[in-house]
C-alpha cells in the first residue's frame, strides 16, 4: 500500500471525525482567546508596550494550545481500543504517524486562524505574511514532536502530566527561532531571514528524527 495514501487516509479520518463532532477546534479557539485576555490583564497592555508583549503572549497561547491538541491525538483510538487494529493492517507505522501528525497539525493551524487575527485585534500588532509564515513553519516541528510523544504517553499512566514535561524541552529550539521570527515580523530587533532559515532547518531535523523514531514507538 502506498504510504502517502495511508497518511492522507489517516489524516482525513481524523479531520472528518473532528468535523462531525466539532469538539477540539472550537474549544481550543476559545482557550486561545482566554489566553489573550489573561495576557492583557497580566501585563497591563497599552499602546506603547503592546508590540513587545504580543509575541510572548502568542507563543504561550500557541504552546499550551498545542499541548492540549496533541495530547488528544490518540484519545479516540485509546477509548475505542482501535489503535492496535490500525497497527495490524499492512500500513507502515511511519505512514500512520505521518497521517496523525498531519491531522493534528491541521487542527492547530485552524486554531492559529483564530489566534493571529485576535492577537492583531487585541494588541494592535501588524498582521503580515511574515507572521503567518513563521507560525506555520513552527507548527510543523511542534506537530511532529508533539504527536510522537503523544503516541508514547498514550499508553502510560499520568499521560497529561508527562506530555508537557517531555515535549516542551524539545520544542525550545523551535520556540527560540519562531519567537525571534515573530519579533522581527513585528518590527522588533532580530533578523527575520536567519530565524526563518533556522526554523526550516529545525523542521527538517525533527521531521527526519521523528519518522525514524515512529517505527519504534508505534510498532507493538
Amino acid at each position: 500500500m502506498n504510504s502517502l495514501r495511508v497518511a492522507v487516509a489517516v489524516a482525513r479520518k481524523d479531520l472528518v471525525s473532528e468535523w462531525r463532532t466539532r469538539e477540539l477546534v472550537p474549544a481550543l479557539a476559545q482557550f486561545i482567546i482566554l489566553a489573550l485576555l489573561i495576557g492583557n490583564f497580566a501585563f497591563q497592555v497599552d499602546s506603547r508596550n503592546a508590540t513587545a508583549i504580543a509575541p510572548g503572549v502568542l507563543w504561550l497561547a500557541l504552546v499550551f494550545a498545542g499541548l492540549v491538541a496533541f495530547g488528544r491525538t490518540f484519545t479516540a483510538e485509546r477509548e475505542q481500543a482501535s489503535f492496535e487494529a490500525m497497527l495490524m493492517t499492512p500500513a507502515s507505522p511511519v505512514a500512520i504517524f505521518a497521517g496523525k501528525a498531519l491531522a493534528a497539525g491541521a487542527m492547530l493551524v485552524l486554531c492559529e486562524a483564530a489566534l493571529l487575527p485576535a492577537l492583531s485585534l487585541f494588541f494592535g500588532t501588524p498582521f503580515s505574511v511574515d507572521l503567518v509564515a513563521a507560525v506555520l513553519l513552527a507548527t510543523v516541528g511542534m506537530a511532529v514532536l508533539g504527536v510522537l510523544f503523544a503516541a508514547m504517553v498514550a499508553r502510560v499512566r499520568a499521560r497529561e502530566l508527562l506530555l508537557p514535561l517531555l515535549t516542551l524541552p524539545l520544542w525550545i529550539p523551535i520556540i527560540i527561532a519562531g519567537a525571534t521570527a515573530v519579533q522581527a515580523a513585528f518590527g522588533l530587533p532580530g533578523s527575520y531571514q536567519e530565524a526563518i532559515g533556522l526554523l526550516i532547518d529545525f523542521d527538517i531535523l525533527f521531521v527526519v528524527l521523528t519518522s525514524l523514531a515512529a517505527r519504534f514507538v508505534l510498532d507493538e
Partner: protein, 231 residues
C-alpha cells in the same frame, strides 16, 4: 566488604585526594580569587554528566536494535547518575556566578542548554517511574534519551545564535598554570571514576529490581531451558 563497597570507598578516597589538590595544591586565581576553585569540580561534573548521558544514548540505541536488557539497565543507571552530576554542575555554577557575574542565573547558551538537559533527563526518570516496567517503557525511555541527547546541542546552538555570555572553554590554554591544569585533570579523572562507580552500583540495583519484578530477557524465555550458570 563486597566489591561494590570497596569500589565506593576507593572513589570517595579519590574525591578526597582531588579536594586536597583543589584547596592546597592549586594556586589561587589572581582575578577571581578562591571562587575560581569551584571551576575544577564544576567542569568535571559537567563532563561526567555528558558521559552518563552518552551511556543513556548508546544504551537506548542498543535496546531499540536488539531488546538487550543489559543495555536498558545501563541506560537507566546512566540517566540517574547523569541527573545527579547535572544538578551538581548547575548548583556549583550558580554559586560561582553570584560573586563573578553578580547574579545566580542568566539565560546564556550553556546555562540554558544545561537546564534543558537536566529537565529532559529528569523527565526520562519520570517516564521510568510512571510507565509500567517492561518492553514498552524501555522503548519509550530509549526514544526520550536519544531525543534528549540530540536536543541539547540544538538548544545550545539556538541560544548561542541568540545571545551568550558564558566564559569560553579555557581549559587547554598556555595561560593556565601547570598546577591548575594538573589539578583539573586529576579532579576530572577522580570524578569520572566516581561516576563509573555510581553507574556500576546503580546497575546492580536495577538488576535486583528487575529480578524482583520478574523482568527477564525475552529471548531466554522462548529459548526453552535456561543455560546453566557457570560456577
Amino acid at each position: 566488604m563486597n566489591k561494590f563497597e570497596k569500589a565506593a570507598a576507593a572513589a570517595v578516597g579519590l574525591m578526597l585526594v582531588a579536594g586536597a589538590a583543589i584547596f592546597f595544591y592549586a594556586p589561587t586565581d589572581y582575578l577571581q580569587g578562591p571562587v575560581q576553585r569551584i571551576f575544577y569540580l564544576h567542569v568535571s561534573s559537567a563532563i561526567a554528566a555528558y558521559g552518563c548521558f552518552a551511556v543513556v544514548l548508546v544504551g537506548g540505541i542498543i535496546y531499540l536494535r536488539n531488546d538487550s536488557l543489559v543495555a536498558d539497565r545501563f541506560a537507566r543507571a546512566g540517566a540517574l547518575v547523569g541527573v545527579v552530576f547535572t544538578t551538581v554542575t548547575l548548583v556549583m555554577g550558580m554559586l560561582w556566578a553570584k560573586p563573578i557575574w553578580n547574579t545566580f542565573w542568566t539565560w546564556d547558551a550553556r546555562l540554558t542548554s544545561t537546564l534543558v538537559l537536566w529537565i529532559i533527563y529528569a523527565g526520562y526518570l519520570l517516564v521510568r517511574q510512571l510507565a509500567e516496567p517492561g518492553r514498552q517503557a524501555a522503548r519509550f525511555a530509549a526514544v526520550v534519551g536519544i531525543f534528549g541527547f540530540i536536543d541539547v546541542p540544538v538548544v545550545h546552538f539556538s541560544v548561542t545564535w541568540w545571545r551568550t555570555q558564558h566564559p569560553g572553554p579555557i581549559v587547554v590554554n598556555d595561560a593556565l598554570p601547570a598546577q591548575m591544569l594538573a589539578t583539573f585533570f586529576l579532579t576530572l579523572a577522580c570524578t569520572l571514576v566516581l561516576a563509573a562507580v555510581f553507574i556500576a552500583i546503580r546497575y546492580r540495583i536495577e538488576t535486583l529490581l528487575d529480578e524482583r519484578q520478574n523482568v527477564v530477557e525475552p529471548a531466554k524465555v522462548v529459548a526453552g531451558p535456561q543455560p546453566e550458570a557457570t560456577p
